[in-house]
Symmetry: C2
Subunit: 221 residues, 2 copies
DNA sequence: TTATCATTGTAACAAATGTTACGTTTTTCG
DNA sequence: CGAAAAACGTAACATTTGTTACAATGATAA
């Protein structure tokens, strides 16, 4: 068992080799293992430590009291779990975290995280960058979901992947429809319509933008 | 002109009095003023510094090349502008920032932000907490927008404000409909239906939850 | 009070999206 | 290669939401 797996995690991966021994020795942490299906953290539990997933994968889910479940996200190793909530005013897990397979976690005390943030600039940058990228990701996702029409979402998605009027869809239509929060037939219909309207062409995953103006207009509606 | 206004900003407001002089002396910054309508930052500009709004208010907007404008957010003083992007991998402003009224900003170099984060634990905590709360806010907003039906959004919104089966709407219906990204008549219709279905009662801004089970079920659909 | 303006309720109709079902094409894998 | 599975296209119909318009109600200020 080796705490050095920690340096696979994006928060710590930039720490140079010659600082790693010192970094680990300065941490207060414990390693925990969870079996498939085990609850790693519960909705409402206070976040007193940095939970870092070194092996396995977990799902974050909301369980309502009526028993129904809303899947939020799947997180795979190596990645931190909710590092933002360690410092949030309302520092409680917003979801249940359940192991999808056997998991290994390193749980680092908040105090030693703060100490390391203050003393190790690489770690500071890594931690900040991770949370910043998370804000960025959430902002993009929000922008996509606030776009009301399916064609608008498609236009945004396609424009972000277009170079020299060519684009490649990086998911199949089923996955894309879930990403957009819509149904697969509706997505297919909208794609067809955009092709008939001469806005794009598409064969398999590869497509071309035929009318950039119309595509941009579609975002705004 | 006083840089000490900085300590009104939530990122710095926890720094104790006796550290403030030292804190300001250690910063590399400049103060800038913008007139109403002036562009403070442009979409795509690299974020090399921490922009802190001390006076006035700004709007963040996306301008497409077809000329149409999508309003993202209004930020009022005292608050930082996009502090998360200072550390993000793609460290560029995602939007245009335009002054809504005369504005005063303190622009602090990234280097001195890093130096202070490492040397001043209160500042570190403030900065982290701000970004963490931002993640929290965005996650909540995302959860709301991923809820597909209007009644689902309403159920979430109401449940989050319910104590002992009573709730108070903290916006009027026009504002609430914009918050949900829907139209006002549709919101009014859904509210009416929920009342006819015996799920809630509502008079003005005050309401009661009549059927908690049905309200919770509404979120999941 | 009264005139004015903002807010809310609601109805008729239009448009967009979901639902269900099924046939076709493409991919995967033995 | 060939069978099975996955992905995709599409049609008919149901449901939800948007659009537009107007009346009713409530709040505000002269």
């Amino acid at each position: 068992m080796d705490a050095h797996d920690l340096f696979l995690c994006p928060i710590c991966s930039n720490i140079p080799d010659n600082q790693r021994g010192h970094f680990v020795r300065a941490l207060t942490f414990k390693t925990k293992f969870f079996e498939k299906g085990a609850r790693i953290a519960g909705q409402g539990d206070p976040v007193h430590a940095l939970y870092t997933l070194l092996e396995g994968s977990v799902k974050a889910e909301m369980v309502s009291e009526s028993g129904t479940v809303l899947n939020i996200e799947v997180i795979r190793a190596p990645n931190p779990l909710a590092p933002a909530f360690l410092f949030a005013k309302n520092n409680r897990f917003p979801v249940d975290v359940v192991a999808l397979e056997p998991c290994k976690l390193i749980i680092i005390s908040k105090e030693s995280v703060i100490k390391q943030l203050a003393s190790n600039e690489t770690f500071l940058q890594g931690f900040m960058t991770y949370n910043s990228d998370r804000v960025h990701f959430l902002s993009e996702r929000l922008k996509l979901l606030s776009t009301k029409t399916i064609k608008g979402k498609l236009a945004q998605y396609i424009l972000a992947r277009t170079k020299h009027m060519d684009f490649v869809l990086d998911m199949n239509q089923t996955a894309l429809s879930e990403y957009f929060g819509i149904t697969r037939p509706s997505l297919s219909r909208s794609l067809s319509e955009m092709m008939h309207e001469g806005i794009i062409s598409l064969k398999g995953k590869r497509g071309k933008v035929l009318d950039l103006g119309k595509l941009r207009k579609a975002i705004m509606q």
